[in-house]
Symmetry: C2
Subunit: 330 residues, 2 copies
């Protein structure tokens, strides 16, 4: 085993997205030694976009000084996949990908261990191994951006469930009579209500209803309410804009209701919240923390439960996928 | 280790309730060899009711032919407890019990391993080891009666979480704006909506609103709607009573919404549903199964997910607590 400890110190992480493919070389201590990005040729055939992934890996192997220095290659792709088999099914942003055995293809081509994982699961593991939850073994990871992804980490491992699709906490309904139907088909799941588009929609509806009410959001969007973003809401709320504050408070409240339920089910050691929306920061986290005790049966334990912002922001996709091999050293 | 396999073949299970204490002797194969019940002297001091537990254990040890034949003593009590330390906090039906180190007291008095566990967790484990989920390793167990208890079994072990209070799925809110506030403080959690009292309340409200509408429920309760029980609703629904069927359908729908969310989070191998309300049987299970695919992101996997009635009904408290030692043999 001497070879493992002396040589295989680097891991490749590949984040395959609909608009870009990011790859990096991460050290055993979780430092990003090198990163590369290429725009995804998503409208081309499978061979083209898969070829992009292969070439990115080849470049990173060269940077690593050869494949003997690698522990493995971790990858994530959008949409449904099976982390147990490494098969990617039907990524909505990669129309030519249909049931692609990605892990196997990469393993056979490069002769290096390869794993494919859901992005939120991988990011959650990375937060436990090298991010905001270092020192903890059991975590509930949440990323709030255009969707709400979650990952359940138990004993420093990703909890996969029977079919590899566990940890989809973003699609738990908290308001089954809601007018908001999620892309996933569930009415009133937290993603439909509190992710970026849900937040923007609630702001738009409120501004349309209060059509005479002044708001910075009207100025920032030049009156085109379809252009509202979560960042605008966060910025306007900081400047004490009443409508923006209402929407921000409601977002924190909804996330708190939902996390209350997740705490009743999972009783985690720590909750880590990442993603673009979470970068609104303190006012959002304060409202989440204030709400949770009202919506969990485990309220006696909430005062000692850390609810912290994610540490890995930029390049979280690379850190996450690389982290799939980082815990093997222990 | 020869002694273990040749002699310690029996386990004591003790189910401490507010009205009765039930105890039994269970074989390594999960057969109930002996059971005893005494009415709980709940209004007396701690010494009295704890003495009842001790005497029940003494009688069962005699039946076992001495403590050398025992693997251990498993116990459950109502209300909050810490399965990791074996401490029972404040059971609502046992007012004299305040932070009782039950496992330690039993262990020291009898010189036999002792474990205290939440009743739904224990019942879930028993279903996996000797009940409806034999052959499965990961299960989500649900009991619907006066409350909704749940247990998460992963790899044939109870999932406890950080503070030993994981698996409280009954208090996940699915309708945070609901008029129904749970005893736990959560508004619109599934227990408040769909457990026995929630079901009866929904029937009462509907009958009061439709005050001219005929219903068997009026006959069965002799007009006193406060006397409606889930069993009456099930019986009246069987006789095609319109109101009873509406309430039963709604109960199945609500449970399906909630289980949809649980499936998104946990991706279990099997769901086992027990408790008095579940004994309404097929019409309830049919509505649950019909609803789930509309409220989970993991709908592609639902068609192969077994959702089965519990096998251990009578004496489930004894089987459950005894099962805490049954998996140690493997």
């Amino acid at each position: 085993m001497a070879k493992k400890t002396t040589k295989q110190q680097l891991t490749i992480g590949i984040d395959i997205g609909g608009t870009k493919i990011a790859g990096g070389l991460v050290t055993a201590r979780g430092r990003l030694a090198k990163s590369l990005v290429v725009p995804t040729l998503a409208d081309k055939d499978l061979k083209t976009s898969l070829g992009q992934v292969f070439r990115l890996i080849e470049r990173l192997i060269r940077h690593a000084g050869g494949k003997d220095n690698l522990r493995g290659i971790g990858m994530c792709a959008p949409g449904p996949l099976n982390p147990k088999t490494g098969v990617v099914f039907t990524p909505p942003n990669l129309p030519s990908w249909r049931t692609v055995p990605l892990a196997q293809l990469v393993r056979e081509r490069f002769g290096v261990p390869a794993i494919v994982e859901n992005d939120a699961n991988a990011a959650g593991l990375a937060e436990v191994l090298i991010g905001a939850a270092v020192g903890y073994r059991d975590a509930f990871y949440v990323t709030v951006s255009t969707g709400i992804g979650t990952g359940i980490i138990i004993d420093k491992k990703i909890y996969h469930g029977k079919n590899g699709v566990a940890g989809e906490g973003g699609h738990v309904p908290i308001d089954y009579r809601s007018p908001y139907l999620c892309g996933c088909g569930t009415r009133g799941c937290i993603e439909a209500l509190a992710a970026g588009p849900g937040m923007a929609r609630r702001a738009r509806v409120l501004l349309e209803q209060e059509h005479g009410a002044p708001s910075l959001l009207r100025t920032l969007t030049k009156g085109d309410l379809s252009k509202i973003t979560p960042k605008m809401i966060g910025d306007a709320a900081k400047l004490k804009d009443r409508i923006a504050r209402l929407i921000l408070d409601e977002t924190g409240f909804l996330l708190g209701v939902w996390l209350g339920g997740m705490i009743s089910v999972l009783d985690p050691e720590i909750i880590v919240i990442g993603g673009g929306v979470s970068q609104i920061g303190k006012p959002l986290f304060d409202k989440i923390r204030e709400t949770i005790p009202h919506y969990t049966v485990n309220r006696d334990f909430v005062s000692t439960l850390p609810i912290v912002p994610a540490k890995l922001r930029k390049d979280v996709g690379i850190y996450g996928t690389a982290s799939l091999f980082l815990n093997l050293a222990e």
